[in-house]
Structures are given as C-alpha cells and as structure tokens.
C-alpha cells in the first residue's frame, strides 16, 4: 500500500504488528473494525444482495437456519443468546465476528438492508442482537419515474432498473459511536462516487449485472453439481467494485486508511482515526484529537512520522504545493512560526496543514528539540524485550538495544545530558536520531516546569480556607497567548476542507516600559499586584528580592502565569525572556512559589491515551 525506501518504516512496523495479531483481532472482536461489508440494491427486480465480504462457506450459514426452534423453553442451539428464567439475555460463549454475520443469509440481508426509498439520503442504522449495520442508502432514480409497462415493447423498458443501493458496514453492536459515525461517513462517500459514476456511465448497473450473472451461474452449478460454492469468491476477479469493497474492508481492519479508485476514476480516501491514533492499546477519540489540535501554539513543532521521501511519495499528484513545501521544510527543531517563514507560508496555512497531517496520522505535535528539553519514559511505552519496536530499533541502530536506551530515560534526562559523550563510539547525531525515533513511536514524554503562586497562610487563622486564601487563579482571569482558533474539522479529504479564523495574538506584557524605576513603572507594578490580597502582597513585599524594583516589576508582570497552566518555555516565548532569567526569578521568589514538572497536557494526547 505504501512503498517506502526509507528506513524509518513506521507503516511497515504497524503492518507487521498487525499481521502477528491479526488472528486475535478477529477472534476477540476488535471494536474499531467492521465485521463485514455488504452491497445491496433495490429495483424493479426486487431487493438483491450483490456482494458481501468476508464470504463464509455456504455450509456454515445453512446450518444455523435449519434448526429453527419455536418454543422459548427449548435450548437455543444457534449460539446467539441463552435466556435464563428471568428472561435476561446472557451470552454464554462470545461468538466470533465471522459467526455473528454469517448467521444472516443473503436474502434476509437484502430484505433488511435495501430500505424503502424514503430512508435514502440519510444515515441508516439497524441493530440486530449483537450486530449493528450502518450505511447510507442512496437513490439513483425517483421511484415514481419507473413505469415498467408490459404493453410497451421498447427494449429500454425491459431492462431491469436500479432504484437505490446501499453500501453497508456491519459492526459489533458495542462499537464506539464515533466509529459508527466514521463508517457511515465512508459509506456515504463511496455512495457519492458510485452515484456519480452511475449517472455518467451506468457503472453501478454494469457491475451489478456482472455480479448477479455470476450468482445465477453459481446457483445453477450448485443445483447440477450439488457442491456448494460461494458466488462471491467468483465475483471478485470479475468485478472491480467487489475488489474495491474488499480492499476497503481489509484496510479498515488493519491500517485504518482507505484509498479507493471507483471505476479507476474517482478517488475515495478516508481514514479511521481510531486505528491511526492508538497509544498504549487504546484509541484516541476524534473529539479529543480535535480539541488538542485547537490548542497548538506557534512555538510547537511538527514531527513527521515518516521520512520526507516516503511521505511525498504518498501524496496524490494534484496535492497542494503548500503541503509539499511544508513537508520539505519541516524539522523537529523548528517551531511552527519558523516553519512558516522558511516555507514562505502564513501561520494560518501552517496550522491548517499541520492539523491535517496530524489527523491523518502522518505527524505529531511536539515541543521543538533543543538542549534543555527534558524527556522521560512514557508510562505507556512498550518496553518489552520482545516487542516489534525492540526489533526495529536493533535494525535501525545496530549494536544498540532499545531497553538499555529506554532505561536511560527512567529518570528525566535532558538532551544535553543524554548527549554527554559517555560512550565515545556513539556519535552525537545518532543520539539525536534515536531520540527522534523514540518520540515518533511515543516511547518518550517531555517534561516541562510549571509554577504556582502559593503564599504561606497568615498566622491568625491557619488551616482555614477563607476566600482570601484562594489562590490567584480563582480571582484573576489571566491572559494567554492565543492561537489561530476555530480549526474546524469535518473529515478532511484534502487540505482545502478546513476553515480557520484569523489568528489574534494578544500583546504580551512586554509592552510595559522597559528599565528604570520611573514613577510610571512603579504604578504599573502596583496595579499588577493589586489583584492580590493584602496578606499576599505583604508577604511578597517582605521578600528580600522584592526590594529590587526591577525584580519586583518582572515578578508582577509574570504574575498571571503563576497558576500552574503555563510552562517555562511558554513564558519564555511569550515574554521573550531567557531561561536563566526566569530560573533566577523563581529562585529569588521561591518562598511563595511552588514548582513542579510534568508533561504538557495540551500535547500529551499524542503521548498517552485518555482514561
């Protein structure tokens, strides 16, 4: 599907991981995969099931129909549900996905999935016991225009006409609502493409005719030979549409990325975020993904998950040049603002394209790599000796093993510490490559420093939380540098799909007059400190460092960051300050500040799953 020549073969790893566990996926009921894809139509010849995949052996499905028991007291041997005396349904042995849908014959599926025409153009959802069917029935012709007149001898009237069709996905009933929604989306997209091709060159009618012809042929053969065959197996080599549907199903079950060319002409591309964004064994819900993407800042960086070459090879011929430029200019050490300058695009476009790449699982958001970045082993990292990751690491970096490297990050380690030449044989550049490799596979999280203002309580009433003791955050709104907001997603097919509002960057407080102990500056400082309680103000002013007007002014200016939601790097970026300046300030005022380190919740989504 994706051809890489590069060694950063994430897709390959993912596919090989899936190959190993493919069998277990099908057995234990993978919640984000469909269990079947079915194509039905309704027309002058009635309701027909044209194609279904996977196709079961004919022997399997007939057995469940013959033993039809009528009394509710008899033991239900079809294995669906067993009823206990209270009438509660309890599944004794969980059925495999194959068995769930295999129990439905072609005829019954045709009846229930080829709906009446007034259900067309809308989401179709039907749940039967443990199976959920979702599709988007689409009208081809208005039912009233079809008048099959028996008296009219013209050949056109004799041709069977298709009124509506539906591409239906069967899922386990307990599939996540967002997965169901996504499947419906794909069904609708395929329907749009088919409708278009039908109107242009009767594509669907032709394929349907082929499919039905093969079905008739096989039925005849069965009647004469007596040997049961699956007509669908015979259909595959003859019908492109059948192969497309099979491919859609296979892709959904494995990588989650679907790319079809209906009639070798219209492209339908789709991705199932649940498959792509899997961290620590859980999928990332699309809404959480979108929320995170809306919170990216200009100082974040985009880390590609494939090599530049591999990514470019995957792009369609008519993709936007901006996308190409971005991919070529992208780097883990460059923040988005720099990227905008280097790629000669505006920040808006950068955000748009970055979000698009992240949504499609081609990139993640990180803080740009630099010396002072501190990394630690992710709680969700797979550190098993036998993991495919360990194997891949060994191949990528011969002579090194992943567990040893990961052990180094058991304690938070800065990049500069990591690069310290403990081992002369390992080159610095390769060490950076290793860190990037581990970040791409979500093995590491980055820790940031957060600061909170907490003044020691007053002596009069210790231990009680009066209103005055409530920390600053409850009383003061606080400003934060905003980002191009309202990144809205539908389901982006191309980068043109998304809309943005223009970015509004609030002016940082650096606008305050610099330097000097002018009366104006003193007044500014007083104003800023006015939001504190009397007690807080007193304590702060009593700190030795507060005697220096410069230090006090800096402290007052940064006050609104001291509520534990802005990390050091963000303050540095917004206020254009050096790390050493800030650290010195924190130290001077440490009696009223509490400092802690943890991951950035905004981008930690890409490193750890939500509970």
């Amino acid at each position: 599907m994706y051809i890489h020549s590069s060694s950063f073969d994430l897709q390959g790893e993912r596919k090989s991981m899936y190959k190993q566990s493919e069998n277990s996926f099908f057995k234990c009921g993978e919640k984000t995969s469909p269990i079947s894809v079915i194509l039905v139509t309704s027309g002058s010849r009635g309701n027909k099931l044209l194609f279904r995949y996977p196709f079961q052996r004919v022997a399997d499905c007939t057995s469940s129909l013959t033993t039809k028991q009528r009394s509710p007291y008899a033991l239900n041997t079809t294995g669906d549900v067993l009823e206990d005396p209270d009438g509660d349904s309890r599944e004794q042995t969980p059925l495999t996905d194959q068995q769930l849908v295999a129990g439905f014959s072609d005829i019954i599926l045709a009846t229930i999935l080829a709906t009446k025409s007034d259900m067309c153009g809308k989401k179709f959802e039907l749940k039967i016991d443990n199976v959920r069917f979702v599709g988007h029935p689409t009208l081809l012709q208005h039912p009233h225009t079809i008048q099959v007149s028996k008296t009219d001898p013209s050949p056109k009237r004799e041709m069977p006409t298709m009124i509506l069709f539906s591409v239906v996905f069967a899922l386990r009933a307990n599939a996540d609502p967002s997965v169901i929604s996504c499947m419906h989306n794909l069904s609708r997209r395929i329907a749009i493409a088919l409708q278009h091709e039908e109107r242009r060159c009767q594509y669907l009618t032709r394929e349907a005719k082929l499919m039905l012809a093969v079905q008739d042929e096989v039925t005849n053969m069965t009647e004469t030979d007596g040997s049961p065959q699956s007509p669908f197996r015979q259909i595959l080599p003859k019908c492109k549409l059948a192969r497309d549907l099979k491919e859609a199903y296979d892709s959904l079950c494995t990588t989650g990325v679907v790319r079809l060319h209906i009639n070798n002409w219209l492209e339908v591309s789709f991705c199932l975020p649940h498959k792509i964004h899997r961290v620590g064994g859980n999928h990332v819900p699309p809404e959480a993904l979108e929320r995170s993407l809306k919170a990216i800042r200009p100082y974040h960086a985009l880390l590609l998950l494939d090599s530049e070459k591999a990514l470019l090879a995957q792009l369609p011929l008519d993709c936007s040049p901006a996308l190409v430029r971005l991919i070529k200019t992208c780097s883990a050490v460059k923040n988005l603002q720099q990227l905008a300058q280097d790629a000669d695009l505006n920040l808006l476009q950068i955000f748009q394209i970055a979000a698009h790449l992240v949504y499609w699982g081609k990139a993640i958001i990180v803080y740009p790599l630099c010396e002072n970045n501190v990394y630690m082993l992710s709680p969700h990292a797979n550190i098993s000796l036998y993991s495919p990751l360990a194997e891949a690491f060994g191949q990528q970096f011969p002579g090194h093993d992943l567990p040893s490297m990961l052990a180094k990050f058991s304690l938070p380690l800065s990049l500069s510490e990591f690069r310290n030449p403990l081992d002369a044989s390992v080159q610095e550049a390769q060490l950076i490559q290793m860190v990037v490799w581990m970040l791409q596979r979500r093995l590491l999280i980055q820790l940031h420093t957060y600061v909170c203002l907490l003044v020691p309580p007053s002596e009069e009433e210790p231990g009680l939380l009066r209103d005055e003791e409530l920390p600053l955050v409850a009383r003061v709104g606080g400003r934060s540098l905003s980002t191009p907001s309202a990144l809205s997603f539908g389901s982006p097919t191309s980068s043109d799909d998304m809309t943005l509002t223009s970015p509004s960057m609030e002016n940082s407080s650096a606008e305050l007059l610099p330097g000097g102990d002018s009366p104006l500056n003193r007044r500014m400082t007083e104003t800023l400190l006015a939001s504190l309680t009397e007690h807080e103000r007193q304590v702060i002013l009593n700190i030795p460092a507060a005697q220096s007007p410069e230090d006090l002014r800096m402290f007052a200016r940064l006050l609104h960051y001291f509520r534990g939601h802005h990390h050091l790097e963000e303050i540095m970026y917004n206020e254009n300050m050096r790390r050493s300046q800030l650290k010195t300030l924190f130290d001077k005022f440490r009696s009223v500040l509490v400092v802690t380190n943890h991951e950035d919740p905004v981008i930690s989504l890409f490193q750890s799953p939500l509970e």
């Binding site: 709906t115 304690l411 409850a474």
Partner: protein, 381 residues
C-alpha cells in the same frame, strides 16, 4: 427517583392481521407512530422467520424503535402462526441499550401468557394490553421500574439497569480503596463473599493479602472486587511502601483550580485529631514527589509540611484522583549470550509489584538479586 435519562416516547403492540397484514393494534400515546413511519419500518417489526426472537433496533424519521418479533406456530391460528411485537419508541438520539433487556423480557412474558392462556389470541383478554402498556410507559419513565400483576398467576417485573463500562481486570497486587465513606454502604446488600472481605478493604491491603487474611479464595476476592469496581464503590491503587516512587501528573493543578477537590483533599489527608492542613503544604508535598524520590525521602525533606499530614493518605488520595502516578520498576534481561535461557519474568512486561507478588520475594530480596546480575537493566515508568 427517575433512574436514567432514557425517556420512552411510546409503547406499541404490533401484529400480523390475517387479512390486513402488519398493523399497529395498540399504541400509547395514541397516534404517535404515523402511517408513514410504520410503512417504512414494518419490515423490521413483523419480520421474516430468520429475524424472529432477535432484538431489533431501527432508526428512522428521527425515532428509534426497539422490538423483539415473536412467532408462535400452531394449527389453531389463522395462517397457522401468531406474529406480534411489543416495542418501545424513543428519540433517535437516545442511547437505548438499557431498554433492550426490558423489551426482551416483555416479549418473553407475552409469549408465556399466550402459550398458557391464549392471552393475545383471545380478543377479550388482548384488550387488557392497553392499560398494561399505559402503566408501563408511565412507571418506566417515572422510576425506571415497573411491577404489574397481569392475572392471578402472572406478574411483570421490570427494571431499567444502567449500563456501565467493563471494569479492568483486578490483579493480585492491586489495592482496592473505597471511593466514599465505608459506612454509606449497607452490608447486607452485597453477596456473602463481598461481605466477608469488606472489613479487609482499607486502601492498603492488596488482593493477595485480603485473600489470605479473610480466608477467601483468591479468585473469589478478585471477582468480588471487580464487581465493586464495576459499581464505582471502590477504585484501585497500587501497594504502598516507603520505597515507592511517584511523580505528579498535569491533573495535580486541579488541586489549585478546583475548590471542591481542595476541600476534599485537605479533609482526607489531615492527620486525625489535628487542625486541617493548609493547601500550600499539601501542594508542596505533592510537588515534592518526583522521579528518583522515594516516600521516605519526601518525609525527611518535608518534615515540617508533614506535621499535620498523614503521608499514606496523601499518597492514597493522590492516586485516587490521579494527581500523582506511581513509577514502577521493570527489570529487563539484556544479553547477547545465546546459551542462557530466555527470561520469563524479566522481559520488561512485569513490574516489581507483580514479580514480588507472584514469587513471594520482598522488594529488598529482588533488588539484591538483580543488582548482582550485570545483564539486568531496570526501567522505571
């Protein structure tokens, strides 16, 4: 008290009439299901034999219909079969999983009634359905439960049960802790096994220990705790030791942002009999937990802050609310030696907690054993 937010809009009784075909015989409220709607969905209500006795939920025209088609075959019926379906209607956006057991039960009840006394095929008794359906609709919407006597020998008992997420598997080294005050729970509500172990759940004993001290078989304890977990009565934390290492999560900021969490925390962690600890001390303590710092280290560094704080309850609360997380040790055997056996437990998949629990070794013993092995490295996460 209304249980969940499921509102049943309508209850209908549909059957196959010998001459008129599929129709709605009764519905409450009247005229709720339009002719149009029924035409569209009737194929899912009075169904082909293959779909009988299955729970079918169909969404159409902004409504969700849940039913279970029944077919009773007998020569006495015209067309040799009686086909009917008692279903519920909700708004299309409603999550209706909790209604499914009710629909299934109702179909079972009606089938029984018909087989025993021809309740449905008899025109006179069939009319009793209407008031039954009315009562059902009213009571299920009001209280989520309904008890209806049908005749001398039959009563319908129904209850809407909230569907919860499947709980995690409970391991022997997990520690259950009550999410609310223990005294809130009426002991007699629970099964015997749970009653037996309740006293041993103190937020410090792990499953294996509870099993040993309460003298209840390990798997039974696991299942009982899993059940308590399912109902949100307990949550799981890890074993407490002074050698444990923790670190803060981004959620620790909620202690600053959220007044109710502040109150709850300070009340929970203050030593018994002492004045309530102050926020600053408690927050400093949590922030003092970092990779490489043991609880013992914390106690010596922050002795002043710990004057009014019980460190064990501090850790417990922090874990319950995810303000902090535990850093576990995972030994991995890395060796190029082809001759040595592949490691069974030292693969990076099993933590110290798990290994010690399974082998009976203490942490100290395991530490000593591993320190002497040059091929073993340890990862913390």
């Amino acid at each position: 008290r209304g249980s969940s937010c499921i509102r049943i809009e309508c209850i209908f009784f549909s059957e196959f009439h010998p001459t008129l075909g599929p129709k709605i015989t009764y519905q409450v409220p009247e005229e709720y299901i339009s002719r149009e709607l029924f035409d569209t969905v009737q194929v899912y209500i009075i169904t082909k034999p293959e779909l009988q006795n299955k729970l079918i939920t169909v969404t159409a025209m902004g409504k969700k219909l849940i039913g279970c088609p029944v077919c009773i075959e007998h020569k006495k019926y015209s067309r040799n079969a009686l086909l009917f379906n008692l279903g519920l209607v909700c708004d299309a956006r409603t999550k209706t999983c909790a209604l499914e057991p009710i629909v299934k039960k109702l179909s079972g009840y009606l089938t029984t009634l018909e087989l025993e006394s021809g309740f449905i095929s008899n025109e006179e008794s069939k009319q009793k359905l209407l008031p039954i359906m009315s009562t059902l609709l009213e009571e299920l919407n009001a209280t989520g439960a309904c008890t209806l006597p049908i005749d001398e020998s039959n009563t319908i008992n129904l209850k809407l049960i909230e569907q919860r997420r499947d709980p995690l598997i409970v391991q022997e080294y997990d520690v259950p802790v009550f999410t609310q005050c223990k005294d809130h729970f009426i002991k007699s509500q629970w099964d015997l096994t749970t009653q037996q172990i309740l006293a041993y759940i103190d937020g410090f004993r792990h499953i294996q220990k509870i099993s040993a001290e309460a003298d209840v078989e390990l798997n039974l304890v696991r299942i009982a705790v899993q059940n308590l977990l399912y109902y949100g009565v307990v949550t799981l934390v890890s074993i407490f030791q002074y050698s444990n290492v923790y670190c803060t999560t981004p959620t620790v900021q909620s202690l600053i942002d959220d007044r109710s969490i502040q109150e709850e925390c300070l009340n929970y962690v203050t030593k018994k009999g002492q004045k309530r600890a102050c926020l600053r001390d408690v927050f400093q303590l949590y922030c003092g937990l970092t990779p490489g710092t043991t609880v013992r280290d914390l106690c010596s560094r922050y002795s002043q802050q710990l004057q009014r704080v019980d460190e064990r309850r501090l850790i417990q609360y922090g874990l319950m609310k995810a303000l902090i997380r535990r850093l576990q040790k995972y030994p991995v055997k890395v060796t190029r030696d082809e001759r040595s056996r592949p490691p069974r437990l030292y693969t990076g998949c099993h933590s110290y907690d798990e290994i010690c629990c399974k082998t009976g070794m203490s942490y100290k013993e395991l530490d000593e054993r591993l320190e002497n092995d040059p091929n073993i490295i340890v990862c913390w996460k």
